[in-house]
Point group: C2
Chain length 306, copies 2
Protein backbone atom coordinates (compact mmCIF):
# COMPACT_ATOMS: atom_id res chain seq x y z
CA UNK A 1 0.00 0.00 0.00
CA UNK A 2 1.20 3.47 -0.94
CA UNK A 3 -0.05 6.77 0.42
CA UNK A 4 0.87 9.97 -1.40
CA UNK A 5 0.45 13.58 -0.29
CA UNK A 6 -0.40 15.48 -3.43
CA UNK A 7 -0.89 18.99 -4.77
CA UNK A 8 -1.75 19.75 -8.38
CA UNK A 9 0.15 19.38 -11.64
CA UNK A 10 3.48 17.94 -10.43
CA UNK A 11 1.77 15.49 -8.11
CA UNK A 12 -0.69 14.45 -10.80
CA UNK A 13 2.11 13.67 -13.23
CA UNK A 14 3.99 11.67 -10.62
CA UNK A 15 0.88 9.74 -9.65
CA UNK A 16 0.24 8.85 -13.26
CA UNK A 17 3.68 7.30 -13.38
CA UNK A 18 3.04 5.56 -10.08
CA UNK A 19 -0.12 3.94 -11.43
CA UNK A 20 1.92 2.66 -14.37
CA UNK A 21 4.23 0.70 -12.06
CA UNK A 22 1.87 -0.55 -9.36
CA UNK A 23 -1.69 -1.69 -8.88
CA UNK A 24 -3.99 1.33 -8.57
CA UNK A 25 -6.00 -0.34 -5.80
CA UNK A 26 -2.87 -0.13 -3.64
CA UNK A 27 -2.63 3.65 -3.97
CA UNK A 28 -4.27 6.36 -1.89
CA UNK A 29 -3.73 9.97 -2.94
CA UNK A 30 -4.35 12.51 -0.18
CA UNK A 31 -4.90 15.75 -2.00
CA UNK A 32 -4.61 19.35 -0.91
CA UNK A 33 -7.92 21.21 -0.71
CA UNK A 34 -6.48 24.41 0.76
CA UNK A 35 -6.89 26.02 -2.64
CA UNK A 36 -10.53 24.99 -2.99
CA UNK A 37 -12.67 27.97 -3.82
CA UNK A 38 -16.33 28.82 -4.20
CA UNK A 39 -16.90 30.60 -7.50
CA UNK A 40 -20.40 31.47 -8.73
CA UNK A 41 -21.65 29.41 -5.78
CA UNK A 42 -19.83 26.36 -7.14
CA UNK A 43 -17.35 24.36 -5.08
CA UNK A 44 -14.16 24.08 -7.13
CA UNK A 45 -11.37 21.71 -6.00
CA UNK A 46 -8.52 22.55 -8.38
CA UNK A 47 -5.90 20.13 -7.07
CA UNK A 48 -8.30 17.21 -6.76
CA UNK A 49 -9.58 17.80 -10.28
CA UNK A 50 -6.09 18.13 -11.73
CA UNK A 51 -5.15 14.80 -10.16
CA UNK A 52 -8.32 13.09 -11.41
CA UNK A 53 -8.26 14.55 -14.91
CA UNK A 54 -4.56 13.72 -15.29
CA UNK A 55 -4.93 10.14 -14.09
CA UNK A 56 -7.93 9.72 -16.41
CA UNK A 57 -5.79 10.85 -19.33
CA UNK A 58 -8.23 13.72 -19.85
CA UNK A 59 -6.15 16.66 -18.73
CA UNK A 60 -5.17 19.50 -21.02
CA UNK A 61 -1.56 18.52 -21.59
CA UNK A 62 -0.52 22.05 -22.53
CA UNK A 63 -1.59 23.71 -19.30
CA UNK A 64 -1.37 20.66 -17.03
CA UNK A 65 -4.84 21.43 -15.63
CA UNK A 66 -8.35 21.62 -17.04
CA UNK A 67 -9.73 19.23 -19.63
CA UNK A 68 -8.49 18.43 -23.09
CA UNK A 69 -10.77 19.52 -25.95
CA UNK A 70 -12.50 21.92 -23.60
CA UNK A 71 -15.08 24.45 -24.81
CA UNK A 72 -15.79 27.86 -23.29
CA UNK A 73 -19.41 28.69 -24.04
CA UNK A 74 -20.34 29.49 -20.44
CA UNK A 75 -17.38 31.79 -19.79
CA UNK A 76 -18.05 33.50 -23.11
CA UNK A 77 -21.68 34.11 -22.17
CA UNK A 78 -20.63 35.36 -18.73
CA UNK A 79 -18.85 38.27 -20.38
CA UNK A 80 -22.24 39.81 -21.15
CA UNK A 81 -22.68 40.31 -17.42
CA UNK A 82 -19.08 41.38 -16.84
CA UNK A 83 -19.16 38.39 -14.52
CA UNK A 84 -16.23 36.85 -12.73
CA UNK A 85 -14.12 35.41 -15.54
CA UNK A 86 -10.55 35.68 -14.21
CA UNK A 87 -10.86 32.09 -13.03
CA UNK A 88 -11.81 30.41 -16.26
CA UNK A 89 -13.99 27.33 -15.96
CA UNK A 90 -14.47 25.31 -19.13
CA UNK A 91 -17.86 23.86 -20.00
CA UNK A 92 -16.89 20.25 -19.36
CA UNK A 93 -14.96 21.12 -16.22
CA UNK A 94 -18.01 23.04 -14.97
CA UNK A 95 -19.98 19.80 -14.96
CA UNK A 96 -17.61 18.50 -12.28
CA UNK A 97 -18.24 21.57 -10.13
CA UNK A 98 -21.98 21.41 -10.68
CA UNK A 99 -22.01 17.76 -9.64
CA UNK A 100 -19.81 18.37 -6.60
CA UNK A 101 -21.87 21.34 -5.44
CA UNK A 102 -25.15 19.52 -5.94
CA UNK A 103 -23.92 16.53 -3.92
CA UNK A 104 -22.53 18.71 -1.14
CA UNK A 105 -25.89 20.49 -1.03
CA UNK A 106 -27.55 17.11 -0.61
CA UNK A 107 -25.37 16.54 2.45
CA UNK A 108 -22.65 14.38 0.91
CA UNK A 109 -19.14 14.79 2.30
CA UNK A 110 -16.40 16.17 0.09
CA UNK A 111 -14.61 12.84 0.42
CA UNK A 112 -17.72 10.98 -0.81
CA UNK A 113 -18.07 13.25 -3.82
CA UNK A 114 -14.35 13.09 -4.60
CA UNK A 115 -14.61 9.30 -4.69
CA UNK A 116 -17.66 9.52 -6.93
CA UNK A 117 -15.89 11.82 -9.35
CA UNK A 118 -12.80 9.60 -9.43
CA UNK A 119 -14.91 6.51 -10.11
CA UNK A 120 -16.88 8.32 -12.82
CA UNK A 121 -13.54 8.80 -14.58
CA UNK A 122 -12.77 5.11 -14.21
CA UNK A 123 -9.93 5.50 -11.73
CA UNK A 124 -8.87 2.58 -9.59
CA UNK A 125 -6.87 4.40 -6.93
CA UNK A 126 -8.42 6.06 -3.94
CA UNK A 127 -8.47 9.86 -4.13
CA UNK A 128 -9.11 11.56 -0.80
CA UNK A 129 -9.35 15.26 -0.04
CA UNK A 130 -7.14 16.05 2.96
CA UNK A 131 -10.27 17.03 4.89
CA UNK A 132 -14.02 17.26 4.54
CA UNK A 133 -13.82 20.53 6.43
CA UNK A 134 -12.99 23.89 4.86
CA UNK A 135 -9.32 24.85 5.06
CA UNK A 136 -8.37 28.01 3.19
CA UNK A 137 -4.82 28.77 2.20
CA UNK A 138 -4.57 32.55 2.60
CA UNK A 139 -1.71 34.64 1.32
CA UNK A 140 -0.48 37.86 2.90
CA UNK A 141 0.67 39.95 -0.02
CA UNK A 142 2.92 42.98 0.28
CA UNK A 143 0.99 46.21 -0.07
CA UNK A 144 -2.38 44.41 -0.23
CA UNK A 145 -2.89 42.39 2.91
CA UNK A 146 -4.32 38.90 3.05
CA UNK A 147 -6.04 37.51 -0.01
CA UNK A 148 -7.45 34.14 -0.99
CA UNK A 149 -5.22 31.58 -2.63
CA UNK A 150 -6.80 31.78 -6.08
CA UNK A 151 -6.74 35.56 -5.92
CA UNK A 152 -2.99 35.22 -5.48
CA UNK A 153 -2.35 32.29 -7.77
CA UNK A 154 -4.69 32.84 -10.69
CA UNK A 155 -5.93 36.41 -10.56
CA UNK A 156 -2.53 37.94 -9.77
CA UNK A 157 -0.66 35.11 -11.50
CA UNK A 158 1.51 34.90 -8.34
CA UNK A 159 3.37 37.98 -9.58
CA UNK A 160 3.27 39.65 -6.18
CA UNK A 161 5.49 39.48 -3.09
CA UNK A 162 4.29 37.15 -0.36
CA UNK A 163 4.94 37.99 3.28
CA UNK A 164 3.19 35.05 4.90
CA UNK A 165 0.91 32.11 4.23
CA UNK A 166 -1.61 30.59 6.62
CA UNK A 167 -4.14 27.79 6.45
CA UNK A 168 -7.34 29.26 7.82
CA UNK A 169 -9.63 26.73 9.43
CA UNK A 170 -6.96 24.05 9.61
CA UNK A 171 -6.96 23.97 13.41
CA UNK A 172 -10.68 23.10 13.41
CA UNK A 173 -10.49 20.64 10.53
CA UNK A 174 -10.33 16.87 10.77
CA UNK A 175 -8.57 14.59 8.31
CA UNK A 176 -11.02 13.11 5.80
CA UNK A 177 -12.17 9.56 6.57
CA UNK A 178 -9.43 7.18 5.48
CA UNK A 179 -6.56 9.66 5.59
CA UNK A 180 -5.01 8.62 8.92
CA UNK A 181 -5.65 4.96 8.18
CA UNK A 182 -3.89 5.23 4.82
CA UNK A 183 -0.93 6.99 6.45
CA UNK A 184 -0.64 4.33 9.15
CA UNK A 185 -1.05 1.26 6.93
CA UNK A 186 0.96 2.23 3.85
CA UNK A 187 4.30 0.56 3.41
CA UNK A 188 5.56 3.56 1.48
CA UNK A 189 4.54 7.17 2.00
CA UNK A 190 5.34 9.70 -0.70
CA UNK A 191 5.40 13.48 -0.61
CA UNK A 192 4.82 14.31 -4.26
CA UNK A 193 6.82 17.00 -6.10
CA UNK A 194 4.40 19.75 -5.15
CA UNK A 195 4.83 23.21 -3.68
CA UNK A 196 5.92 22.64 -0.05
CA UNK A 197 4.22 25.80 1.21
CA UNK A 198 1.09 25.92 -0.92
CA UNK A 199 0.31 22.25 -1.51
CA UNK A 200 1.96 20.02 1.10
CA UNK A 201 1.93 22.27 4.17
CA UNK A 202 -1.89 22.66 4.10
CA UNK A 203 -2.23 18.88 4.21
CA UNK A 204 0.22 18.64 7.10
CA UNK A 205 -1.66 21.46 8.85
CA UNK A 206 -4.76 19.31 9.29
CA UNK A 207 -4.59 18.15 12.92
CA UNK A 208 -3.12 14.67 13.19
CA UNK A 209 -1.64 14.48 9.71
CA UNK A 210 1.82 15.86 10.38
CA UNK A 211 2.13 13.64 13.47
CA UNK A 212 0.98 10.62 11.47
CA UNK A 213 3.47 11.27 8.68
CA UNK A 214 6.32 12.04 11.10
CA UNK A 215 5.50 8.81 12.92
CA UNK A 216 6.20 6.96 9.69
CA UNK A 217 9.31 9.04 8.87
CA UNK A 218 11.45 6.04 8.01
CA UNK A 219 9.03 5.08 5.24
CA UNK A 220 8.44 8.56 3.89
CA UNK A 221 10.08 9.62 0.64
CA UNK A 222 9.74 13.21 -0.54
CA UNK A 223 10.44 14.31 -4.09
CA UNK A 224 11.89 17.78 -4.44
CA UNK A 225 9.78 20.14 -6.57
CA UNK A 226 12.86 22.35 -6.87
CA UNK A 227 15.36 21.41 -9.57
CA UNK A 228 18.58 23.39 -9.91
CA UNK A 229 17.17 26.16 -7.75
CA UNK A 230 13.99 26.63 -9.71
CA UNK A 231 10.43 25.35 -9.65
CA UNK A 232 9.50 23.44 -12.79
CA UNK A 233 6.08 25.06 -12.65
CA UNK A 234 4.55 27.69 -10.43
CA UNK A 235 6.02 30.02 -7.82
CA UNK A 236 7.65 27.55 -5.40
CA UNK A 237 11.16 28.93 -5.82
CA UNK A 238 10.19 32.54 -5.45
CA UNK A 239 7.83 31.79 -2.58
CA UNK A 240 10.46 29.81 -0.67
CA UNK A 241 12.87 32.72 -0.95
CA UNK A 242 10.25 35.30 0.03
CA UNK A 243 9.40 33.34 3.14
CA UNK A 244 13.03 33.04 4.17
CA UNK A 245 13.77 29.55 2.96
CA UNK A 246 16.45 28.52 0.54
CA UNK A 247 15.11 27.93 -2.98
CA UNK A 248 17.07 24.72 -3.42
CA UNK A 249 16.87 21.05 -2.58
CA UNK A 250 18.59 21.96 0.68
CA UNK A 251 15.79 24.35 1.52
CA UNK A 252 13.29 21.62 0.71
CA UNK A 253 15.22 19.19 2.92
CA UNK A 254 14.99 21.61 5.82
CA UNK A 255 11.22 21.82 5.38
CA UNK A 256 10.74 18.05 5.14
CA UNK A 257 13.45 16.56 7.38
CA UNK A 258 11.06 16.17 10.34
CA UNK A 259 8.52 14.15 8.35
CA UNK A 260 10.55 12.34 5.67
CA UNK A 261 13.71 10.29 5.88
CA UNK A 262 14.54 10.44 2.17
CA UNK A 263 14.62 13.25 -0.35
CA UNK A 264 14.68 12.44 -4.06
CA UNK A 265 16.48 15.15 -6.01
CA UNK A 266 17.20 15.59 -9.67
CA UNK A 267 20.54 14.74 -11.24
CA UNK A 268 21.04 18.45 -11.76
CA UNK A 269 21.32 18.74 -7.97
CA UNK A 270 23.70 15.81 -7.44
CA UNK A 271 26.31 18.14 -6.03
CA UNK A 272 23.92 19.17 -3.26
CA UNK A 273 23.38 15.60 -2.03
CA UNK A 274 25.89 16.01 0.83
CA UNK A 275 24.18 19.23 1.93
CA UNK A 276 20.80 17.44 1.89
CA UNK A 277 22.27 14.62 3.97
CA UNK A 278 23.67 17.18 6.37
CA UNK A 279 20.04 18.10 7.07
CA UNK A 280 19.45 14.57 8.29
CA UNK A 281 17.82 13.12 5.18
CA UNK A 282 19.03 10.38 2.93
CA UNK A 283 19.42 11.85 -0.57
CA UNK A 284 18.52 9.85 -3.67
CA UNK A 285 19.63 11.31 -6.98
CA UNK A 286 17.69 10.42 -10.11
CA UNK A 287 15.97 12.03 -13.08
CA UNK A 288 12.94 13.80 -11.62
CA UNK A 289 11.79 15.97 -14.52
CA UNK A 290 8.73 14.30 -16.01
CA UNK A 291 8.74 15.30 -19.67
CA UNK A 292 6.84 12.19 -20.62
CA UNK A 293 4.78 9.54 -18.95
CA UNK A 294 7.69 7.10 -19.01
CA UNK A 295 9.80 9.59 -17.07
CA UNK A 296 7.12 9.67 -14.39
CA UNK A 297 7.00 5.88 -14.29
CA UNK A 298 10.78 5.70 -13.91
CA UNK A 299 10.67 8.24 -11.09
CA UNK A 300 7.89 6.29 -9.39
CA UNK A 301 9.90 3.11 -9.64
CA UNK A 302 12.90 4.87 -8.10
CA UNK A 303 10.73 6.11 -5.25
CA UNK A 304 9.33 2.64 -4.60
CA UNK A 305 12.76 1.03 -4.80
CA UNK A 306 14.51 3.40 -2.48
CA UNK B 1 -46.78 54.10 -16.03
CA UNK B 2 -47.77 50.46 -16.38
CA UNK B 3 -47.23 47.69 -13.84
CA UNK B 4 -47.65 44.08 -14.94
CA UNK B 5 -47.81 40.94 -12.83
CA UNK B 6 -46.02 38.30 -14.86
CA UNK B 7 -45.28 34.59 -14.94
CA UNK B 8 -43.28 32.93 -17.71
CA UNK B 9 -43.91 32.33 -21.39
CA UNK B 10 -47.39 33.88 -21.82
CA UNK B 11 -46.45 36.95 -19.81
CA UNK B 12 -43.18 37.35 -21.66
CA UNK B 13 -44.92 37.31 -25.03
CA UNK B 14 -47.50 39.84 -23.85
CA UNK B 15 -44.82 42.12 -22.44
CA UNK B 16 -42.93 42.03 -25.70
CA UNK B 17 -46.04 43.32 -27.41
CA UNK B 18 -46.49 45.92 -24.69
CA UNK B 19 -42.98 47.28 -25.24
CA UNK B 20 -43.83 47.60 -28.94
CA UNK B 21 -46.68 49.99 -28.16
CA UNK B 22 -45.33 52.03 -25.25
CA UNK B 23 -42.10 53.43 -23.90
CA UNK B 24 -40.18 50.73 -22.03
CA UNK B 25 -39.17 53.16 -19.30
CA UNK B 26 -42.86 53.40 -18.37
CA UNK B 27 -43.18 49.65 -17.75
CA UNK B 28 -42.48 47.68 -14.58
CA UNK B 29 -42.81 43.90 -14.77
CA UNK B 30 -43.29 42.24 -11.37
CA UNK B 31 -42.31 38.66 -11.97
CA UNK B 32 -43.13 35.45 -10.11
CA UNK B 33 -40.18 33.89 -8.30
CA UNK B 34 -42.19 31.12 -6.61
CA UNK B 35 -40.71 28.68 -9.10
CA UNK B 36 -37.13 29.76 -8.45
CA UNK B 37 -35.00 26.76 -7.66
CA UNK B 38 -31.47 26.02 -6.53
CA UNK B 39 -29.88 23.45 -8.83
CA UNK B 40 -26.21 22.45 -8.50
CA UNK B 41 -25.96 25.28 -5.98
CA UNK B 42 -27.05 27.78 -8.63
CA UNK B 43 -29.99 30.12 -8.15
CA UNK B 44 -32.28 29.69 -11.18
CA UNK B 45 -35.16 32.15 -11.73
CA UNK B 46 -37.05 30.56 -14.63
CA UNK B 47 -39.84 33.13 -15.01
CA UNK B 48 -37.55 36.14 -14.68
CA UNK B 49 -35.19 34.69 -17.25
CA UNK B 50 -37.98 33.81 -19.66
CA UNK B 51 -39.23 37.40 -19.48
CA UNK B 52 -35.75 38.86 -19.97
CA UNK B 53 -34.69 36.52 -22.76
CA UNK B 54 -37.98 37.04 -24.58
CA UNK B 55 -37.86 40.82 -24.34
CA UNK B 56 -34.24 40.75 -25.52
CA UNK B 57 -35.29 38.77 -28.58
CA UNK B 58 -32.97 35.99 -27.44
CA UNK B 59 -35.46 33.36 -26.35
CA UNK B 60 -35.71 29.96 -27.98
CA UNK B 61 -38.86 30.57 -30.01
CA UNK B 62 -39.70 26.89 -30.28
CA UNK B 63 -39.88 26.21 -26.55
CA UNK B 64 -40.71 29.72 -25.40
CA UNK B 65 -37.98 29.54 -22.75
CA UNK B 66 -34.21 29.15 -22.76
CA UNK B 67 -31.92 30.82 -25.26
CA UNK B 68 -31.86 30.60 -29.03
CA UNK B 69 -28.79 28.89 -30.54
CA UNK B 70 -28.09 27.31 -27.17
CA UNK B 71 -25.37 24.67 -26.69
CA UNK B 72 -25.38 21.84 -24.16
CA UNK B 73 -21.76 20.99 -23.38
CA UNK B 74 -22.17 21.23 -19.60
CA UNK B 75 -25.28 19.05 -19.43
CA UNK B 76 -23.60 16.55 -21.72
CA UNK B 77 -20.55 16.38 -19.48
CA UNK B 78 -22.77 16.05 -16.41
CA UNK B 79 -24.02 12.73 -17.71
CA UNK B 80 -20.65 11.20 -16.83
CA UNK B 81 -21.53 11.73 -13.18
CA UNK B 82 -25.15 10.69 -13.61
CA UNK B 83 -25.75 14.17 -12.30
CA UNK B 84 -29.03 16.00 -12.11
CA UNK B 85 -29.98 16.53 -15.75
CA UNK B 86 -33.78 16.46 -15.71
CA UNK B 87 -33.73 20.25 -15.48
CA UNK B 88 -31.66 21.07 -18.51
CA UNK B 89 -29.56 24.21 -18.32
CA UNK B 90 -27.93 25.32 -21.55
CA UNK B 91 -24.38 26.65 -21.58
CA UNK B 92 -25.33 30.26 -22.28
CA UNK B 93 -28.27 30.15 -19.89
CA UNK B 94 -25.92 28.80 -17.20
CA UNK B 95 -23.92 32.00 -17.38
CA UNK B 96 -26.99 33.87 -16.12
CA UNK B 97 -27.30 31.50 -13.16
CA UNK B 98 -23.58 31.70 -12.39
CA UNK B 99 -23.73 35.49 -12.43
CA UNK B 100 -26.87 35.61 -10.29
CA UNK B 101 -25.48 33.16 -7.75
CA UNK B 102 -22.14 34.94 -7.55
CA UNK B 103 -23.84 38.29 -6.96
CA UNK B 104 -26.20 36.87 -4.34
CA UNK B 105 -23.17 35.35 -2.62
CA UNK B 106 -21.59 38.79 -2.59
CA UNK B 107 -24.65 40.05 -0.73
CA UNK B 108 -26.58 41.59 -3.61
CA UNK B 109 -30.37 41.40 -3.45
CA UNK B 110 -32.26 39.34 -6.02
CA UNK B 111 -33.89 42.56 -7.23
CA UNK B 112 -30.45 44.16 -7.75
CA UNK B 113 -29.22 41.20 -9.75
CA UNK B 114 -32.42 40.97 -11.76
CA UNK B 115 -31.97 44.60 -12.77
CA UNK B 116 -28.35 43.95 -13.69
CA UNK B 117 -29.30 40.99 -15.85
CA UNK B 118 -32.06 42.96 -17.58
CA UNK B 119 -29.70 45.85 -18.29
CA UNK B 120 -27.00 43.48 -19.56
CA UNK B 121 -29.54 42.38 -22.16
CA UNK B 122 -30.21 46.01 -23.08
CA UNK B 123 -33.75 46.15 -21.73
CA UNK B 124 -35.31 49.49 -20.95
CA UNK B 125 -38.21 48.36 -18.76
CA UNK B 126 -37.85 47.63 -15.07
CA UNK B 127 -37.94 43.93 -14.22
CA UNK B 128 -38.55 43.19 -10.55
CA UNK B 129 -38.78 39.86 -8.80
CA UNK B 130 -41.90 39.80 -6.65
CA UNK B 131 -39.69 39.53 -3.57
CA UNK B 132 -36.06 39.38 -2.54
CA UNK B 133 -37.06 36.72 -0.02
CA UNK B 134 -37.47 33.04 -0.83
CA UNK B 135 -41.02 31.97 -1.64
CA UNK B 136 -41.42 28.40 -2.80
CA UNK B 137 -44.45 27.23 -4.71
CA UNK B 138 -45.03 23.69 -3.42
CA UNK B 139 -47.37 21.19 -5.00
CA UNK B 140 -49.23 18.46 -3.15
CA UNK B 141 -49.39 15.60 -5.63
CA UNK B 142 -51.76 12.66 -5.31
CA UNK B 143 -49.97 9.57 -4.08
CA UNK B 144 -46.69 11.40 -3.54
CA UNK B 145 -47.18 14.22 -1.08
CA UNK B 146 -45.72 17.68 -1.40
CA UNK B 147 -42.99 18.29 -3.96
CA UNK B 148 -41.17 21.33 -5.25
CA UNK B 149 -42.55 23.24 -8.17
CA UNK B 150 -39.89 22.22 -10.69
CA UNK B 151 -40.21 18.61 -9.55
CA UNK B 152 -43.85 18.89 -10.53
CA UNK B 153 -43.53 21.04 -13.61
CA UNK B 154 -40.35 19.84 -15.29
CA UNK B 155 -39.41 16.50 -13.80
CA UNK B 156 -42.97 15.07 -13.83
CA UNK B 157 -43.97 17.24 -16.79
CA UNK B 158 -47.07 18.20 -14.75
CA UNK B 159 -48.55 14.81 -15.69
CA UNK B 160 -49.71 14.12 -12.13
CA UNK B 161 -52.84 15.01 -10.17
CA UNK B 162 -52.53 18.04 -7.92
CA UNK B 163 -54.44 18.18 -4.64
CA UNK B 164 -53.20 21.52 -3.36
CA UNK B 165 -50.68 24.29 -3.97
CA UNK B 166 -49.06 26.50 -1.36
CA UNK B 167 -46.51 29.28 -1.37
CA UNK B 168 -44.05 28.38 1.35
CA UNK B 169 -42.33 31.36 2.92
CA UNK B 170 -44.76 33.87 1.44
CA UNK B 171 -46.06 34.97 4.84
CA UNK B 172 -42.52 35.98 5.88
CA UNK B 173 -41.58 37.57 2.56
CA UNK B 174 -41.64 41.25 1.72
CA UNK B 175 -42.32 42.72 -1.70
CA UNK B 176 -39.10 43.57 -3.52
CA UNK B 177 -38.11 47.25 -3.39
CA UNK B 178 -40.20 49.13 -5.95
CA UNK B 179 -43.05 46.63 -6.16
CA UNK B 180 -45.58 48.44 -3.99
CA UNK B 181 -44.55 51.79 -5.41
CA UNK B 182 -45.07 50.55 -8.97
CA UNK B 183 -48.49 49.16 -8.05
CA UNK B 184 -49.55 52.42 -6.43
CA UNK B 185 -48.27 54.80 -9.10
CA UNK B 186 -49.14 52.94 -12.30
CA UNK B 187 -52.05 54.29 -14.31
CA UNK B 188 -52.70 50.82 -15.67
CA UNK B 189 -52.10 47.51 -13.88
CA UNK B 190 -52.07 44.33 -15.93
CA UNK B 191 -52.33 40.71 -14.85
CA UNK B 192 -50.58 38.97 -17.71
CA UNK B 193 -51.96 35.80 -19.35
CA UNK B 194 -50.15 33.50 -16.91
CA UNK B 195 -51.21 30.56 -14.81
CA UNK B 196 -53.45 32.03 -12.09
CA UNK B 197 -52.45 29.42 -9.50
CA UNK B 198 -48.79 28.86 -10.31
CA UNK B 199 -47.67 32.28 -11.56
CA UNK B 200 -50.01 35.04 -10.39
CA UNK B 201 -51.14 33.70 -7.01
CA UNK B 202 -47.55 33.48 -5.64
CA UNK B 203 -47.08 37.19 -6.44
CA UNK B 204 -50.37 38.06 -4.75
CA UNK B 205 -49.35 35.90 -1.77
CA UNK B 206 -46.48 38.24 -0.88
CA UNK B 207 -47.83 40.32 2.01
CA UNK B 208 -49.13 43.67 0.82
CA UNK B 209 -49.31 42.85 -2.87
CA UNK B 210 -52.86 41.54 -3.08
CA UNK B 211 -54.10 44.48 -1.01
CA UNK B 212 -52.19 46.91 -3.21
CA UNK B 213 -53.61 45.42 -6.41
CA UNK B 214 -57.13 45.19 -5.01
CA UNK B 215 -56.85 48.82 -3.95
CA UNK B 216 -56.29 49.71 -7.61
CA UNK B 217 -59.02 47.34 -8.84
CA UNK B 218 -60.61 49.90 -11.16
CA UNK B 219 -57.34 50.20 -13.07
CA UNK B 220 -56.48 46.50 -13.15
CA UNK B 221 -56.98 44.52 -16.35
CA UNK B 222 -56.42 40.78 -16.34
CA UNK B 223 -55.90 38.74 -19.49
CA UNK B 224 -57.33 35.23 -19.38
CA UNK B 225 -54.73 32.51 -19.93
CA UNK B 226 -57.62 30.16 -20.67
CA UNK B 227 -59.01 30.20 -24.20
CA UNK B 228 -61.98 28.03 -25.11
CA UNK B 229 -61.56 26.04 -21.92
CA UNK B 230 -57.92 25.20 -22.47
CA UNK B 231 -54.54 26.62 -21.55
CA UNK B 232 -52.50 27.68 -24.57
CA UNK B 233 -49.43 26.32 -22.83
CA UNK B 234 -48.88 24.43 -19.61
CA UNK B 235 -51.27 22.83 -17.16
CA UNK B 236 -53.48 25.79 -16.17
CA UNK B 237 -56.70 24.18 -17.41
CA UNK B 238 -56.08 20.85 -15.75
CA UNK B 239 -54.84 22.45 -12.56
CA UNK B 240 -57.86 24.75 -12.27
CA UNK B 241 -60.16 21.74 -12.56
CA UNK B 242 -58.15 19.65 -10.10
CA UNK B 243 -58.33 22.40 -7.53
CA UNK B 244 -62.11 22.79 -7.92
CA UNK B 245 -62.18 25.80 -10.21
CA UNK B 246 -63.84 26.02 -13.58
CA UNK B 247 -61.34 25.70 -16.43
CA UNK B 248 -62.86 28.57 -18.36
CA UNK B 249 -62.79 32.35 -18.53
CA UNK B 250 -65.57 32.25 -15.96
CA UNK B 251 -63.35 30.31 -13.58
CA UNK B 252 -60.59 32.86 -14.19
CA UNK B 253 -63.05 35.69 -13.52
CA UNK B 254 -63.96 34.16 -10.17
CA UNK B 255 -60.26 34.03 -9.21
CA UNK B 256 -59.54 37.60 -10.26
CA UNK B 257 -62.79 39.50 -9.58
CA UNK B 258 -61.53 40.78 -6.22
CA UNK B 259 -58.36 42.31 -7.66
CA UNK B 260 -59.25 43.25 -11.25
CA UNK B 261 -62.19 45.13 -12.71
CA UNK B 262 -61.71 43.94 -16.28
CA UNK B 263 -61.05 40.54 -17.84
CA UNK B 264 -59.82 40.34 -21.41
CA UNK B 265 -60.96 37.12 -23.07
CA UNK B 266 -60.40 35.68 -26.49
CA UNK B 267 -62.95 35.92 -29.27
CA UNK B 268 -63.41 32.17 -28.93
CA UNK B 269 -64.99 32.89 -25.54
CA UNK B 270 -67.24 35.75 -26.67
CA UNK B 271 -70.32 33.74 -25.67
CA UNK B 272 -69.08 33.62 -22.07
CA UNK B 273 -68.83 37.39 -21.73
CA UNK B 274 -72.18 37.65 -19.91
CA UNK B 275 -71.08 34.94 -17.46
CA UNK B 276 -67.84 36.82 -16.82
CA UNK B 277 -69.79 40.02 -16.21
CA UNK B 278 -72.05 38.12 -13.84
CA UNK B 279 -68.94 37.60 -11.70
CA UNK B 280 -68.63 41.36 -11.36
CA UNK B 281 -65.95 41.99 -14.00
CA UNK B 282 -66.17 43.97 -17.16
CA UNK B 283 -65.42 41.62 -20.06
CA UNK B 284 -63.42 42.75 -23.08
CA UNK B 285 -63.41 40.39 -26.05
CA UNK B 286 -60.47 40.50 -28.45
CA UNK B 287 -57.90 38.25 -30.11
CA UNK B 288 -55.64 37.09 -27.24
CA UNK B 289 -53.68 34.29 -28.89
CA UNK B 290 -50.20 35.63 -29.63
CA UNK B 291 -49.02 33.71 -32.67
CA UNK B 292 -46.75 36.53 -33.69
CA UNK B 293 -45.26 39.64 -32.20
CA UNK B 294 -47.86 41.83 -33.91
CA UNK B 295 -50.63 39.83 -32.20
CA UNK B 296 -49.01 40.60 -28.86
CA UNK B 297 -48.76 44.28 -29.74
CA UNK B 298 -52.43 44.37 -30.75
CA UNK B 299 -53.41 42.68 -27.49
CA UNK B 300 -51.29 45.17 -25.53
CA UNK B 301 -52.94 48.05 -27.30
CA UNK B 302 -56.37 46.62 -26.48
CA UNK B 303 -55.38 46.29 -22.82
CA UNK B 304 -54.12 49.87 -22.68
CA UNK B 305 -57.19 51.22 -24.47
CA UNK B 306 -59.74 49.47 -22.31
Amino acid sequence: MIAALAGGVGAARFLRGLLDVCDPVDVTAIVNTGDDVVLHGLHVSPDVDTVIYTLAGAVNAETGWGLVDETWAVMGALERYRGLTWFRLGDHDLATHLFRTQRLGEGARLSDVTGEVARAWGLGLRVLPMSDDPVETRVDVEGEGEIGFQDYFVRRRHAVTVKAVRYAGAAEAAPAPGVLEALSTASRLVICPSNPILSIAPILAVPGVEEAVAGRRDDVVAISPIVAGAALKGPADRLLAELGHEASVVGVARLYAHVASTLVVDEADADLAPAVEAEGMRCVVTATVMHERKDAAALARAVLDT
